[in-house]
């Protein structure tokens, strides 16, 4: 494997690692603004109208949830604690990303695996193709009537 290929694969693995989603960052309890509430709510989902982020959900239930987030933040709870609280109350489906437990690890592992697997497959295919091409150029016997072949090729090239 040439050094260029090593560098290329290293870069691709690095990109694949970037594909792993990052965990949420905790917030400190401080005087709370609407923006801070939305920062937490953005990564949570309405349990009633599924797949609608909590920070934009227009229902009365979601407004109450945001109010609850406001209270928790005012009481000094971190973002992580608030999300854990809601997940315990209403289930994991209120979080934008499932917690890293049990089967949920699959969702964190699969994307980089797909990328790395694809890179390996394509590299293998290209290297196999390259070997075939080297074999072809090195050992293939020329036809007997090579002048006729050369003239035919020239004729084809002239036609283009």
């Amino acid at each position: 494997m040439t050094w260029r290929m090593r560098v290329f694969i290293f870069l691709l693995v690095g990109v694949a690692m970037l594909s792993v989603p990052e965990p949420a960052i905790a917030m400190e309890g401080t005087p709370v603004s609407d923006d801070q509430v939305n920062e937490v709510a953005r990564d949570m989902y309405c349990p009633v109208c599924e797949n609608v982020p909590l920070d934009v959900c227009p229902t009365a239930a979601c407004a109450q949830w945001r109010k609850l987030i406001h209270e928790k933040l005012s009481a000094g709870w971190t973002e992580g604690q608030i999300k854990e609280f809601f997940a315990e109350q209403y289930g994991w489906n209120v979080l934008a990303l499932p917690p890293r437990t049990g089967l949920n690890w699959l969702i964190y592992v699969l994307p980089p695996s797909i990328v790395i697997g694809g890179v390996i497959l394509v590299t293998f295919l290209l290297r196999t193709g390259r070997k075939a091409s080297i074999l072809f150029s090195e050992g293939f016997p020329m036809p007997e009537n090579s002048t006729e072949l050369r003239d035919k090729i020239k004729e084809d090239l002239d036609k283009r």
Binding site: M5, N38, L97, L103, L125
Partner: protein, 680 residues
């Protein structure tokens, strides 16, 4: 009367489709020209028949026949004509009928135009399209029939039935429920049809691919025959996705254009594999390579189209897009499995004869880079598929529901889209066959240097985080390379033909429409990339509760809340409209009027943002909540979305590029002249 005709013709269309399928297969087996001609005629006749059925339903929608369940559930007296027509695809039954109509129409077009040129491929094309049409017509006739009516039984119960039950009278509702308020938008007229045209359009290349597989064809005739179909389908799928994004931006009111909603993703996945297929198809035409990959991609694309249709109608997904849960889910599941397994089986059966003489001269050759390009598209598709299926898988295995939201998709696919942009820039400059990193580097170093201007400006002005600056560079690179290569070619053409640059540009583009159409499409995609970077990386947002006269500041803007008007509009809704005066850098620039509409009948609220757009950024204001006009005030969410207008300009360039690539060539067809011994 109209409905009776509709139901009757629908059943006849189903029977004739079955006939087309059976006679096509029998005709091929028995090599009977007459049977094949009969199959073709049957397939052609289905289109006008389904057109009659669609016309019948549209007439019912326009003439307030609320005794029909579909009409009652999707229109009301207050709805304008354009929305009544759009209601045709607004519900489950109507959209399935619309699907059938499009498929029969495209089959008609394929058979009418191409019958003489692709005679040997046509019989199996008829069989595959008819098989698909039979499935969808079966669903419409037996499960989701749009001609059910309301009746009142002897006991006073309301019954839904196609035909008049015994001892029941027809109900006569005076008004309907109307469309879901979220669907009452001009987007409803264009977004679903564009998507459906894109979806259904891919059935034709799929049918040709299966036809080639069945016959053991290893040439590229089927690819050439369906090139324009594939581009056409891809174009409408792209338009449909963009229109949906714009609609979300206008109506859903969350300051974004794409929510990684499962239904959005299920429409995005065939776009990903379809785009990979378009690129790969080019390779097969030019170099006779990637035959297996092409067939795999078109099979995947077709199956994903059906899969997406299944997801939205099975009740497996909850989404703003999803139709209500329906009994047709299991039927769809069986159809997808059958189609996928049969297609895969055929591909494996023909695997060996589809091998190509692909020889890699260099990892930087165009062939290799195309392969990496397709790897990225397929990887993004697999990641999206994982995200959609994981919640269902998790619930099945553990009983626990989970959500896989935007953070997953953005972090998993973001880097891959970045690499795609990089390849989009460098692949057009790579050479077929042998190419080294040095030769490629020689071609791209100048435009790559120019492209550094954009991120440099962003860095110096402190406009963004490092990731945003990198993304800006990756987006500006293909723009610079494409424009550089284009201008070099124009300069050479100007010198050679001694003509003006504009004429040279025109002649160059029309002499190689595929290549330069592709360049223009890439430019369009890059422009969209700028818009996406702006909204994803550079967006500012804030929320504030303002009393009248109070202001909120964000990103150089100052918005002063003036007043809130709450009025009954007289068309079934109450409108609450806030007025905010806008200043930018202490200079008054205008007003924005965010709204919340409350629909009485459905008890639903729709948020319409107040929007001020410039080429540099959008000011986007949502009325989050309000209290009765007192000293308490109203709550607003304010977004500043830099560069987002390019997300809407880019598609116009993309469409232009695709049309250039689709435009028929002026080259006349060659004719074969046979000379006899006498020289005649």
């Amino acid at each position: 009367m109209i409905a009776t005709i509709g139901v009757g013709v629908l059943v006849i269309a189903l029977v004739i489709s079955v006939m087309a399928l059976a006679t096509a297969i029998y005709g091929v087996r028995s090599k009977s020209g007459a049977t094949l001609a009969s199959a073709r005629l049957s397939a052609l006749v289905v289109f006008p028949l389904i057109s009659l059925v669609v016309l019948a339903l549209v007439i019912l929608l326009l003439t307030n026949h609320f005794e029909y369940v579909y009409v009652f559930q999707h229109i009301d007296l207050a709805m304008p004509v354009y929305l009544r027509i759009a209601a045709l695809w607004g519900g489950q039954e109507g959209s399935l009928l619309f699907w059938c109509w499009l498929l029969s129409g495209f089959t008609f077009a394929a058979l009418v135009r191409k019958w003489n040129t692709d005679r040997d491929l046509q019989p199996w094309v008829i069989a595959v399209t008819s098989f698909t049409l039979v499935f969808f017509l079966f669903l419409v006739v037996f499960f989701e029939n749009p001609f059910h009516r309301y009746f009142i039984s002897y006991e006073g119960e309301v019954i839904k039935s196609l035909f008049t039950p015994i001892y029941a009278i027809q109900a006569q509702p005076q008004d309907g429920l109307g469309l879901n308020p979220l669907l009452r938008h001009i987007g409803m007229v264009v977004h679903p049809p564009a998507l459906y045209i894109g979806f259904v359009g891919f059935v034709i290349p799929f049918a040709y691919a299966i036809s080639a597989l069945i016959q053991g064809r290893t040439d590229s005739a089927w690819v050439k025959a369906t090139r324009k179909w594939s581009l056409f389908a891809w174009l409408f799928l792209s338009i449909g996705l963009v229109l949906g994004s714009r609609w979300a931006y206008d109506v859903l009111g969350w300051g974004g254009y794409w929510g990684w909603d499962p239904v959005e993703i299920s429409a995005f996945m065939p776009w990903l594999t379809g785009t990979a297929y378009l690129h790969s198809m080019l390779m097969q035409e030019k170099r006779g390579v990637f035959k297996r990959l092409n067939i795999t991609l078109i099979i995947l694309t077709f199956c994903l189209v059906i899969f997406g249709t299944f997801l939205t109608r099975s009740g497996m997904l909850s989404s703003v897009h999803a139709f209500s849960q329906s009994v047709i889910g299991p039927s769809f599941f069986v159809f997808i499995c059958l189609t996928f397994l049969l297609s895969l089986g055929l591909l494996l059966y023909r695997w060996n004869i589809l091998s190509t003489e692909f020889q890699v001269q260099s990892f930087f050759s165009r062939e290799s880079l195309f392969l990496f390009n397709n790897l990225l598209f397929i990887a993004i598709f697999l990641i999206c598929l994982t995200g959609i299926l994981f919640p269902i898988f998790s619930e099945l295995m553990t009983g626990q529901k989970v959500t896989v939201g935007p953070p997953f998709y953005e972090s998993a696919t973001g880097p891959l889209f970045g690499l795609l942009l990089l390849l989009m820039g460098i692949v057009p400059l790579s050479a077929w066959g042998a190419s080294s990193s040095k030769s490629l580097g020689r071609e791209i170093w100048k435009p790559a240097l120019i492209s550094l201007v954009f991120p440099l400006v962003a860095f110096v002005t402190g406009a963004g985080k490092p990731l945003a600056i990198l993304a800006l560079w990756l987006t500006s690179l293909p723009v610079c390379i494409t424009l550089y290569d284009y201008s070099k070619s124009v300069a050479v053409s100007t010198l050679l033909h001694k003509e003006s640059r504009l004429k040279a540009l025109f002649h160059l583009t029309s002499s190689n429409r595929h290549r330069y159409g592709g360049y223009i499409v890439h430019l369009g995609v890059a422009l969209m990339g700028f818009g996406i970077i702006g909204i994803e990386f550079l967006q500012s947002q804030t929320q504030a509760t303002l009393k009248q006269g109070e202001s909120v500041d964000i990103a150089g803007y100052s918005l002063t809340y003036q007043n809130l008007d709450v009025n009954d509009t007289g068309d079934g809704r109450e409108e609450a409209r806030a007025s905010l005066k806008v200043s930018h850098n202490d200079r008054a620039v205008g007003w924005v009027f965010p709204r919340r509409d409350y629909y009485y009948a459905s008890e639903q609220t729709v948020t319409i943002p107040g929007l001020r757009s410039t080429p540099v950024e959008d000011l986007y204001v949502i009325l989050v909540d309000w209290l009765p006009i007192t000293s308490e005030g109203a709550t607003f969410k304010v977004f500043v979305n830099p560069l987002v207008v390019w997300l809407w300009v880019g598609p116009l360039v993309l469409v232009t590029g695709t049309l250039v690539a689709l435009w028929p060539s002026r080259k006349k067809g060659t004719s074969l002249v046979i000379r006899t011994e006498e020289g005649k």
